[in-house]
Amino acid sequence: MTDNDYQPVPLAPDSHKDSETEKYHTFVNLALGLAAITGIELVLVYLPFNKALIFTVLITLSLFKFVAVIAWFMHLIYDKLILTLAFGTGLSIATGTFIALGFLTSRGNVDMEAITGF
């Protein structure tokens, strides 16, 4: 549902060829990596380590996956800075807001008597 009017002309296609091949290898490696990480994560949760440790590792791993997909699959590192800014602003506002929101809610104030549904 977008208009085609007024879009600047895409860059000439031929200049892409080489870099595309290069990217292909990146993509393959990345895909393998992502699959591997998912596997590691799956195993990790069953391991008898300290919970906080597992938690941290899990978050780190998924953060890595997250960033990797954005950076390479979504070409963000190859692209114009303005795109990173546009997306990054949203991402950081969202992260900040919802982390704050998490801290703002606590079990302490809940009136369990009022809740009959569980």
Partner: protein, 200 residues
């Protein structure tokens, strides 16, 4: 189509980005807030009532890991499809897109199965806050996936009309790809903070 502006690279502080691509990135920034709200609602209720419900009995990590894997691979194929389009390799583009659609459908299938299973086990939208937040969040994600699948199917058929060429359509494909990848990264987050964390 184009305006005179388009021809002047210097005119935009060298900021020539395709309109649609910029639009998509802005949309994705907005979607961060969207999914952020959904996911944080879920996590907040989990934090408030950890004992109200134990999903580990219900969740099947194997299944979810499988669908995560599927989605990651679909992302990979999508990246290839975009790349193919840039190179003008229409055929390779089609193959990859078919792959993406196929994987997307598998993912949706898993989700439908999962939902049906959960409902069968007694967890519905209105059972408790877990049911409400879980279904709404994963359901919204599923709808995003479905829209993505639909979009890519349309692209696939469009590629047969002969109106698609590297020059003009690469950007359209890329934009669809961005969307698809985003849906994927949302799932990466959900997989970790909604599923995996319950098991540690």
């Amino acid at each position: 189509m184009h305006t005179a502006e388009a021809t002047h690279e210097d005119s935009h502080d060298n900021l020539i980005i395709d309109n649609k691509k910029l639009l998509m990135w802005v949309f994705l920034g907005s979607d961060c807030m969207f999914f952020g709200t959904l996911i944080s609602t879920h996590l907040i209720y989990r934090k408030l009532y950890p004992e109200s419900f134990d999903p580990t009995a219900l969740f099947s990590l194997e299944l979810t890991s499988f669908s995560t894997f599927i989605l990651l691979m679909s992302s990979f194929l999508m990246a290839l499809a975009v790349s193919a389009m840039h190179k003008g390799e229409l055929k390779s583009f089609r193959n990859n897109v078919i792959g993406v659609v196929f994987f997307g459908l598998i993912f949706l299938g898993c989700q439908v199965y999962e939902f049906a299973h959960f409902v069968h086990e007694g967890l519905t939208l209105s059972t408790n806050t877990f049911g409400s937040t879980f279904y709404m969040m994963t359901g919204t994600h599923g709808v995003h996936v479905a829209i993505g699948v639909f979009w890519l199917v349309c692209m696939y058929f469009y590629s047969h009309t002969g109106k698609m060429n590297a020059h003009e359509s690469a950007v359209d494909v890329e934009v669809a790809g961005l969307y698809w990848h985003f849906v994927d990264i949302v799932w990466i987050v959900i997989f970790t903070v909604v599923y995996l964390i319950e098991f540690i």
